[in-house]
């Protein structure tokens, strides 16, 4: 059998090191950190359907942060379930991906610190657009508006599309699938919403659907934060900087790029703090 010199040397060194090993195997001194995910408006964001991918992210992160391993604590799509998960003192969470609405609601009680921000489809920030049969540049007072985010009505009403003083607010209607909401409008279905509230990525895919050409774009929200990577109660300790560095450079390796596709964000740079603070002030004036 032919063997290259470097491989041969490696084997010799390996044997040598093995001989010098103490009789007791070295203990893995890496510390485990819990990781959780909360995706607002994503009914498929569950452990069953997304757990495997989040486990891959945990493994990758553990490879990037010396002395640390990361373990999935759970994937949730309802704010109350996410809160329960992050409050669990028996299986603590140190790091979580949460919606900006969750961050705004529980920043103080859970001692959350935003350390990175998602860039879904590489968009910087989130902006919502009203779409309907007629252009709607004005606030659509009293109209039925389809959204996938009724689980966080406060965020919708205070930050995304606040009603002007003295105006009847919109009636938010939950649709897990906003394309179906659009079809209901186009088909003239009984009980169909009047319009849709679309995020940037969904709006982008709307433009590729021939049947939606008749729908017009109207009022837009301000530019808002996207999902945030948060540290809980300083639990990452001295690992925080390494985590920030790793997720900020997610797209710098092939493995990271694939993970970015999986997580629908090619990287997670530092949060836009000015944009975040502005949204927080609207949420809690």
């Amino acid at each position: 059998m032919r063997m290259s010199v470097p491989l041969l040397l490696l084997l010799i060194v390996g044997v040598s090191l093995a001989q010098e090993k103490p009789t007791q195997p070295a203990k893995d001194v890496r510390v485990e950190y819990g990781l959780a995910v909360y995706k607002l408006g994503e009914k498929h964001a569950t452990d069953k359907q997304a757990g495997e991918a989040i486990d891959s992210f945990c493994k990758w992160l553990g490879d990037q942060v010396p002395g640390a391993t990361f373990a999935r604590r759970g994937v949730r799509n309802q704010p109350a379930d996410a809160l329960k998960l992050l409050q669990d003192e028996k299986s603590t969470v140190a790091l979580a991906i949460v919606s900006p609405s969750f961050y705004a609601a529980h920043k103080d009680t859970l001692k959350l610190k935003a350390i990175a921000e998602a860039r879904r489809n590489d968009f910087d920030g989130e902006q919502f657009t009203l779409v309907g049969k007629t252009a709607t540049d004005a606030y659509p007072s009293g109209k039925k508006v389809a959204t996938s985010m009724t689980a966080d009505l406060d965020w919708l009403n205070k930050v995304v599309m606040p009603a002007p003083e003295g105006i009847k607010p919109v009636e938010w209607v939950q649709y897990d699938n906003l394309f179906d909401a659009a079809y209901a409008i186009i088909d003239g279905e009984k009980g169909a919403p009047d319009m849709l509230l679309l995020d940037r990525v969904t709006l982008d895919s709307f433009t590729r659907e021939a049947e939606f050409k008749a729908l017009k774009h109207g009022l837009k929200s301000e530019m808002l934060p996207q999902d945030l990577l948060v540290e809980l109660d300083g639990r990452l300790g001295d690992k925080s900087a390494a985590v920030v560095k790793a997720v900020g450079a997610l797209d710098q390796t092939e493995t990271g790029k694939k993970l970015g596709e999986t997580l629908q964000t090619p990287r997670m740079p530092a949060p836009d703090t000015a944009r975040l603070e502005k949204a927080l002030k609207k949420f809690k004036p």
């Binding site: 994503e42 009914k43 498929h44 964001a45 359907q49 997304a50 495997e52 991918a53 989040i54 891959s56 489809n121 897990d176 699938n177 906003l178 394309f179 179906d180 079809y183 209901a184 088909d187 279905e189 009980g191 990525v201 969904t202 982008d204 895919s205 709307f206 659907e209 694939k258 993970l259 596709e261 999986t262 997580l263 629908q264």
Partner: protein, 284 residues
């Protein structure tokens, strides 16, 4: 090489159901592996031994009621035959159909995945012989769906493959397996997440599944999946009459005393009945 027309007749003559289980919700947050496109070599060897193996394989598969054990034997005969030669579109498609059966009914996930991958090799080879052969196109989409179901890392690409294959068949007016293209595409639309993550749409699923019934109104499997859609429609639109319609449909075509298995389809019919009972139990 067999002509598409001839092979279509052969396949239709012994056609079993499409045994499709697509749980495409898993496409969210999953990595993106490509559905394999590898093929056999199309070597042309000894005809006599090949013909005997293929005849034996077909005969074994056509003996009903089928069982995972008997169909495994048919698959093994085809595997042996294709070691001799692999240049018959009709035989490759038939073997892919056998593998598709096993992708659903073989015992154990590993065995199901193995048969799925083998079936994909057969259809890829068949498509190399006849680029847009309708049966090969159909089973290619179905097997891609099974692969995505059995291994979520293939989910995103599987969705693309199923959509491409089934819409091509629908556009060309090709039917395979009793409204199969409409049924398979409809089930994908029913179970996949909505855009932008994937292509799921209850409204579009309804259109496709109802069209499957137009093409093959007596095929029980079509009624099974239309019922699943109707339960979802009742829930989404708050229209309980659709749920009632679904219950009546399942009784009439699958569970009631007058419901009968299509000829030679006892094993498959029992599997549909089991799914129908599960579907009903989920509504309670």
């Amino acid at each position: 090489m067999t002509t598409p027309a001839k092979s279509r007749k052969q396949v239709a003559g012994i056609c079993s159901a499409v045994l499709l289980l697509l749980v495409m919700g898993g496409v969210l947050f999953v990595a993106c592996r490509q559905v394999p496109d590898n093929t056999l070599s199309n070597a042309a060897g000894d005809s006599a031994s090949y013909e005997k193996l293929v005849a034996d394989a077909r005969s074994t598969f056509e003996t009903t009621p089928r069982s995972p054990e008997s169909v495994e034997k048919a698959a093994a005969r085809f595997a042996d035959a294709f070691k001799v030669r692999s240049d018959s579109y009709a035989d490759l498609v038939y073997a892919a159909r056998v593998c598709t059966w096993l992708a659903e009914h073989a015992v154990g996930k590993d065995a199901r995945k193995q048969h799925t991958n083998t079936g994909l090799i057969y259809v890829n080879t068949a498509l190399k012989l006849i680029a847009s052969g309708p049966e090969a196109t159909f089973y290619h989409g179905v097997l891609a769906g099974f692969l995505g179901d059995l291994d979520n890392t293939y989910g995103l690409d599987a969705v693309k493959k199923i959509e491409k294959d089934m819409t091509a068949l629908i556009a060309a007016g090709q039917d395979v397996n009793h409204g199969g293209p409409h049924r398979v595409y409809g089930m994908l639309l029913l179970r996949a997440p909505g855009p932008p993550t994937s292509i799921g749409s209850l409204r579009n699923a309804k259109k496709q599944l109802e069209q499957a019934l137009v093409v093959a109104p007596d095929w029980p499997e079509n009624h099974l999946y239309v019922a699943e859609m109707e339960f979802a429609w009742a829930d989404e639109k708050d229209l309980p009459e659709f749920a009632q319609q679904a219950r009546e449909r399942l009784q009439k075509h699958l569970l009631g005393p007058d419901a009968k298995a299509p000829a030679g389809m006892q094993f498959e019919f029992a599997a549909w009945q089991a799914k129908a009972r599960t579907l009903l139990a989920e509504q309670d």
